[in-house]
């Protein structure tokens, strides 16, 4: 019996095209996200002044929101989202097509990936919403983030309602004062 010492997955035949990704880490776990789906990368320090705390605790992974270009972005804690050990995020990835800023520990590098492999069907939990698939870089299998998987439609609606209610309450207080 002979065993191969090196093996790498064959790119899928359908939808095969290379793409540029950002490799980032949360709690020592590496993830990839399509570079084109990230609008801006900011340090958490630079965002701190612009962040507003959210009193609503119904979506535990979101504690703050930030206003950018007249748009409200909900700040998702990456550790809480992926159920990873608590870490110290230093950066926020502000997404392009979703009102989400994700707290991450570090950017590792940019990379060009030849393909995104489908997530095996054995993975049947929430990860099907988290990931677009898997990629293979430097002998590592890395999950490729689905940018729309950080908050569900229902979570966004609940956060929007809570924020509107809070703003209305503050305005009412200001008028009475």
């Amino acid at each position: 019996m002979r065993f191969a010492t090196h093996d790498s997955p064959r790119p899928p035949q359908h939808g095969r095209h290379s793409e540029q990704v950002i490799l980032f880490s949360i709690a020592n776990q590496t993830f990839a996200v399509a570079a084109e789906s990230v609008q801006e990368i900011r340090s958490t320090d630079s965002l701190a002044g612009a962040a507003t705390e959210i009193e609503y605790q119904g979506v535990a992974k979101v504690r703050h929101m930030v206003e950018r270009a007249r748009r409200t972005y909900y700040v998702v804690n990456g550790c809480a989202h992926f159920r990873l050990p608590v870490s110290r995020p230093t950066l926020a990835l502000i997404l392009r097509d979703f009102r989400v800023a994700v707290l991450v520990d570090a950017i590792e590098r940019m990379a060009e990936i030849p393909a995104v492999y489908p997530l095996p069907r054995a993975f049947a939990g929430e990860e099907r919403a988290w990931y677009r698939g898997l990629t293979y870089i430097d002998d590592h299998v890395i999950p490729v983030i689905h940018p729309g998987g950080f908050l569900t439609r229902d979570e966004l609606d609940r956060l929007d309602r809570a924020v509107r209610a809070s703003q209305a309450h503050q305005m009412q207080g200001a008028i009475q004062a």
């Binding site: 064959r10 095996p120 069907r121 054995a122 293979y136 999950p143």
Partner: protein, 157 residues
Amino acid sequence: MTLPENSAPNSFVLMELGERRFALPANIVTELAPPVRLHTFPHASPLVSGVIVRRSRIVPVYDASSVLTGRQASVHRFYLIARREFAKGSELSAIPVDGECELGTGTMQPPPAGKPSYVAGVLPLGEESLDVLNFEVLVTSQPVNAATHPNSQEAQP
């Protein structure tokens, strides 16, 4: 070890997990792979421990030990790769095993009462009687705590 596509219906792959041996129908087993690197990432599928890359494919790994013995698989093991059927198509799937596997033939008997649902039957082999596993049921079972597992010594009074 690579198995022929059309194994005889009474052929079984005999594998070792913990201190027990189990049997899988040979017609769903494709190969015994070496202890290659297990890649892990966050997910919420209870029995899946990660993926391996084998023959240019990404293959999910199920920690069958946690169901069969109540203990998680150790790191340096072989992987038995079998085909799991889904409603649409099938998928190669791996389970870590403790050593080399062997091929055995025999007639499967119905499972005795009280066996877990992942036991499709028993295979008498000499003085030994091995549980024949239903792969589909096994990989969709819930992991069992070692202290409460019926095959665990910790569960003995």
